[in-house]
C-alpha cells in the first residue's frame, strides 16, 4: 500500500520524517469513517434537543432505542429482518448514482418484481421447488430491471429527467399492481384483501439456519458485495465512474455511455425487483397491496447515508432497521408518536448530507499536506 502512496507523488523523504506508513494509510481511510460517524453523533445530539423540547428524556430515549434495536439477540434479529429489504432497495439508488443519476423510484421495481414473481410461482405450480423459486427470482429481476432500465433509457435517449420519471413510474407501477391483483391475477377467495393465489408452502423461502431472519438478508448482503466489486474492481465500474464524473469526457474516450446507463439502471432495478420477489416468497406468500410498504423510499435514505458505497449500505441498512425496530418500543415505553423516529431519520439525513461538504477539508486526513505545514 505504501507503494501506491509513494507512486502518487509523495516525496521519498516522507516516510523518513517520522510518519509511519501505517499512520498515513489509516489517515487516508479514516475520513470515510470519521465524518459520517461524527455526523451521526451531531444528528443524535440535535435530536436530543428535540426530545428535550417535547419534555422527554433523551437518555431514556436512546436507552430504549438501544434495547429495542440492538440490545439483545432478539432485537438484533428484529433489526436485521427489517434491514434486509433495504439492502436491495438501496442498490436501486446507489448503482445509478455512480453514473451521476438520481433514481428514486425503487418502490415501483419492488411491487412489479413481487407481482411478476407471484404470477410465475402460480403458473409453475407443481414443478420442483428449486426451479420455481429460481424462476420467481428471475421473473422479479426481469420485471424490476425493465422498469428501472426504462428510466435509464429515457434519460439517455430522450433526455427525460430520471428523478422525476422514476418517481412517476413508481406510481404507475403501484397502479398496475393494484389493477393486476384486483383483476386478472386475483384469487377469487381473497374477498376483502385482493391478492394473487397463495404460493404453496414448498415454494416459500425460509429463515437462515440459527436465525429468525429470512434468506433475503444473505441475498441482500451478497448483492451489495457484488455491486461493490462491480464498481470498484471491474472495467465496467471504472467506466461508470468516469461517465459519472464527466459524461462528455467519457464519450470522448469512446465509452458506450448509453449501454452503461441502461445496464446500471437495469441492474439496479433487477436487484430491487428481487427484493419484491423475496417479500412474496419469504414474507407475504402472495402479491397484494402490502408490497408497497415504502421500502423503496427508505432505500433512498440508506443509499444517501451510505454515500452510494454498496459496502457501506450494509451497516447503514442495519442502523436504519434498528431505528425502525426501536421505534415500536419508543412508542410503547415512552408514549411518543411513531413520527418520533421519522424526525430522527430526517435529522440524520440532513446532517449527513451537510457533512458531505467537509470531505477533503481536514488536513488530518490528507498526509500530502502534513509535510508542507510542519
Amino acid at each position: 500500500m505504501t507503494d501506491t502512496v509513494a507512486g502518487a507523488g509523495v516525496p521519498a523523504t516522507f516516510g523518513a520524517r517520522g510518519y509511519p506508513a501505517a499512520l498515513e494509510w489509516i489517515a487516508r481511510r479514516a475520513e470515510a469513517f470519521v465524518i459520517p460517524l461524527a455526523a451521526l453523533v451531531v444528528g443524535m445530539a440535535l435530536f436530543s434537543l428535540f426530545i428535550l423540547a417535547v419534555g422527554k428524556s433523551p437518555v431514556q430515549l436512546y436507552e430504549t432505542m438501544w434495547r429495542g434495536g440492538f440490545g439483545s439477540w432478539f432485537s438484533i434479529q428484529n433489526s436485521l429482518s427489517r434491514s434486509s429489504p433495504l439492502l436491495l432497495a438501496a442498490l436501486c439508488v446507489a448503482l445509478p448514482a455512480r453514473l451521476g443519476l438520481v433514481v428514486i423510484g425503487g418502490e415501483g421495481a419492488i411491487v412489479l418484481g413481487g407481482v411478476a414473481a407471484a404470477a410465475i410461482g402460480v403458473v409453475l405450480s407443481g414443478a420442483p421447488s428449486f426451479i420455481v423459486i429460481l424462476a420467481m427470482g428471475v421473473a422479479g429481476m426481469i420485471a424490476g430491471g425493465i422498469w428501472i432500465g426504462a428510466v435509464g433509457a429515457l434519460r439517455h435517449y430522450r433526455a427525460v429527467n430520471e428523478t422525476i420519471s422514476s418517481l412517476l413510474m413508481a406510481y404507475i407501477a403501484i397502479a398496475l399492481m393494484n389493477q393486476l391483483v384486483e383483476g386478472p391475477l386475483r384469487d377469487p377467495a381473497s374477498l376483502n384483501k385482493p391478492s394473487t393465489h397463495p404460493l404453496a408452502d414448498v415454494y416459500r423461502i425460509g429463515n437462515i439456519p440459527g436465525m429468525e431472519v429470512h434468506w433475503g438478508l444473505a441475498v441482500g448482503v451478497l448483492a451489495c458485495v457484488l455491486s461493490w466489486v462491480l464498481i470498484e474492481k471491474t472495467r465496467w465500474g471504472f467506466a461508470a465512474r468516469i461517465a459519472g464524473g464527466n459524461v462528455r469526457a467519457a464519450q470522448v474516450q469512446g465509452l458506450a455511455v448509453g449501454s452503461l446507463i441502461v445496464g446500471f439502471t437495469g441492474l439496479a432495478g433487477a436487484f430491487t425487483g428481487l427484493a419484491g420477489m423475496l417479500e412474496v416468497a419469504a414474507v407475504q406468500g402472495s402479491a397484494n397491496a402490502s408490497l408497497a410498504a415504502g421500502y423503496g423510499y427508505t432505500g433512498i435514505l440508506v443509499a444517501f447515508l451510505a454515500r452510494h458505497n454498496p459496502l457501506a449500505i450494509i451497516p447503514v441498512a442495519f442502523l436504519l432497521g434498528g431505528i425502525d425496530a426501536s421505534g415500536g418500543l419508543i412508542q410503547r415505553r415512552m408514549d411518543l408518536p411513531d413520527a418520533t423516529v421519522l424526525v430522527l431519520q430526517g435529522m440524520l439525513f440532513i446532517v449527513i448530507l451537510f457533512s458531505e461538504t467537509f470531505y477533503g477539508r481536514f488536513k488530518a486526513f490528507n498526509p500530502d499536506l502534513w509535510q508542507r505545514s510542519s
Binding site: 459520517p36 460517524l37 451521526l40 453523533v41 443524535m44 437518555v59 431514556q60 436512546y62 436507552e63 432505542m65 438501544w66 434495547r67 429495542g68 440492538f70 440490545g71 439483545s72 439477540w73 432478539f74 432485537s75 438484533i76 428484529n78 429482518s81 427489517r82 397502479a175 393494484n178 384486483e182 383483476g183 374477498l191 376483502n192 384483501k193 385482493p194 429470512h214 417479500e279 414474507v283 407475504q284 406468500g285 397484494n288 397491496a289 402490502s290 410498504a293 415504502g294 451497516p315 442495519f318 442502523l319 434498528g322 431505528i323 425502525d324 425496530a325 415500536g328 418500543l329 412508542q331 410503547r332 415505553r333 408518536p337 411513531d338
Partner: protein
C-alpha cells in the same frame, strides 16, 4: 444474560456510532421495567392513532381499558402489513410480556398473525375482520367484527332528508365486499326517504391516499352533490374538504364532528370499547376467550354519532324509528325486489338478507341508484 448483553454491545461498538452513544446511555442508566401488571394487552395499528378514522376507533377502544385493574396496555401505530408487524408482535411478547394481542388491520391476519400464533401457542391473538375459521385456524387465534352497514343505512336516512339536489356522494377505497355493502346501504337508506335519490361513488384505489380523497370529494361537489360520506381509513380529508365546499357530511369509523361541527349530520362509528372490554373481562376472569365474535348496533359493537345541528325534525324522527327497529333485530338492508345497477336481480320479491347473512360477505355489485362501477 448480562454478559451476552455486554458482549453484543461491544461487538456493535466497533461498527456503529449509534452503538457508541447508546451504549454510554445504557451504561449509566438502568433499564426501566414498569410492567408489574397481571396481564399486558398489545394493540397494533396500521395508521396513526389520531386519524379520525379506522385506527382512532381502535385506539379509543384500547383507551377504554386503561382503568381496568391489573391490565396494562401497550400500543404501536403505523405498523405496515409486512414482516414488521410480525416483529412488532414478537417484541410485544418478548419485551413487554403481552399475553393478548389485537392486530387491528385486516392485512395483518394472513400470513403475519397466523405465523405468530404458531410460534407463540400460549399467547392469544384476536384480529379485527372476521377471517377466523375453526377448520383452518389455530385456537389461540380469533376474529371480531361489527355489522357497520346498518350505520351507513342510518347515515343514508339522514342524508336523504338533508339533500336538496337528491344527489349523494361516496368516496370509497376499494371495490371489496365490505365497502360495497356500505355504499349500497347508504343509498338504500336514502332511498327509504325518497326513491329518486342517486349516489355517485368514486374509488380511490387505496385505503389512505389523501390527495385522491380530496380530488374525489371536490369532483363530487362539483357535480352538485350536497351530502358526502366515505369508506377510507381516515375520513378527515373527505369531511374537511366537503364541509369546506359547503356540502354536508356523514362520518365513518369514528366521530368526525369536531372537524365540521356545522356540516356534520351523523356518522357510523365502531364501538370497540365494548368488544375489547368483553375480551379483557374474560381474560381477567380466567375464562377462555371467544374465537369468533360479531355484533351490530343492537349488540353495541357499532354506534351512531350524535345528530348534528343541521338535521331536520323529520330526519330525526325517521332516524330514531329506524334505529329502534334495527335494535329489535332482524332488520334487512338488502331486500327484494332489488336490482344491481347493471340490471341483474340481486334479491327477488320477498327475499331479505339480514346483517348476519353469509351472502353479504361476498357482495360484488352496486345496487340500482348507485352511479359507479366495481371494476
Amino acid at each position: 444474560m448480562t454478559d451476552r448483553f455486554m458482549l453484543s454491545r461491544r461487538q456493535l461498538l466497533k461498527t456503529s456510532a449509534a452503538g457508541a452513544a447508546l451504549g454510554l446511555a445504557s451504561a449509566s442508566f438502568p433499564i426501566s421495567r414498569a410492567f408489574a401488571a397481571a396481564a399486558t394487552v398489545g394493540f397494533i395499528y396500521v395508521g396513526p392513532k389520531d386519524d379520525y378514522g379506522y385506527n382512532q376507533a381502535h385506539a379509543e377502544g384500547a383507551a377504554a381499558l386503561k382503568g381496568i385493574e391489573g391490565i396494562s396496555i401497550v400500543e404501536e401505530e403505523n405498523v405496515p402489513e409486512t414482516v414488521d408487524v410480525q416483529k412488532t408482535m414478537e417484541s410485544m411478547i418478548n419485551l413487554d410480556g403481552a399475553s393478548l394481542i389485537f392486530p387491528t388491520s385486516f392485512g395483518y391476519f394472513d400470513p403475519h398473525m397466523l405465523a405468530m400464533c404458531a410460534k407463540f401457542p400460549d399467547v392469544q391473538f384476536r384480529h379485527c375482520g372476521g377471517m377466523w375459521n375453526k377448520d383452518k385456524h389455530p385456537m389461540n387465534a380469533g376474529s371480531y367484527f361489527g355489522y357497520i352497514g346498518m350505520g351507513q343505512y342510518l347515515n343514508g336516512v339522514v342524508a336523504g332528508h338533508t339533500s336538496k339536489t337528491k344527489k349523494l356522494g361516496f368516496v370509497a377505497a376499494k371495490p371489496i365486499p365490505q365497502v360495497l355493502l356500505n355504499i349500497n346501504s347508504f343509498l338504500l337508506g336514502a332511498r327509504s326517504v325518497d326513491p329518486t335519490i342517486t349516489c355517485q361513488v368514486i374509488f380511490t384505489g387505496e385505503w389512505s391516499l389523501a390527495v385522491k380523497e380530496a380530488e374525489a370529494t371536490n369532483a363530487l361537489v362539483d357535480q352538485g352533490i350536497d351530502v358526502v360520506t366515505c369508506h377510507v381509513d381516515s375520513p378527515k380529508v373527505v369531511v374537511e374538504t366537503a364541509a369546506g365546499r359547503g356540502a354536508f357530511v356523514c362520518g365513518y369509523h369514528a366521530n368526525q364532528s369536531p372537524l365540521a361541527p356545522e356540516k356534520y349530520l351523523t356518522g357510523a362509528e365502531w364501538n370497540w370499547a365494548k368488544v375489547y372490554k368483553m375480551f379483557v373481562d374474560d381474560l381477567v376472569a380466567g375464562k377462555p376467550l371467544p374465537n369468533f365474535t360479531r355484533g351490530g348496533l343492537a349488540d353495541g359493537f357499532v354506534k351512531m354519532s350524535p345528530l348534528g345541528p343541521a338535521v331536520s325534525e323529520a330526519a330525526r324522527k325517521q332516524f330514531d324509528a329506524t334505529l329502534a327497529e334495527m335494535t329489535k333485530g332482524g332488520f334487512s338492508v338488502i331486500k327484494g325486489p332489488l336490482k344491481s345497477n347493471m340490471g341483474a336481480v340481486v334479491a327477488t320479491e320477498g327475499q331479505a338478507f339480514a346483517e348476519t347473512a353469509i351472502e353479504l360477505e361476498s357482495m360484488d355489485y352496486l345496487v340500482e341508484g348507485v352511479v359507479g362501477s366495481t371494476a
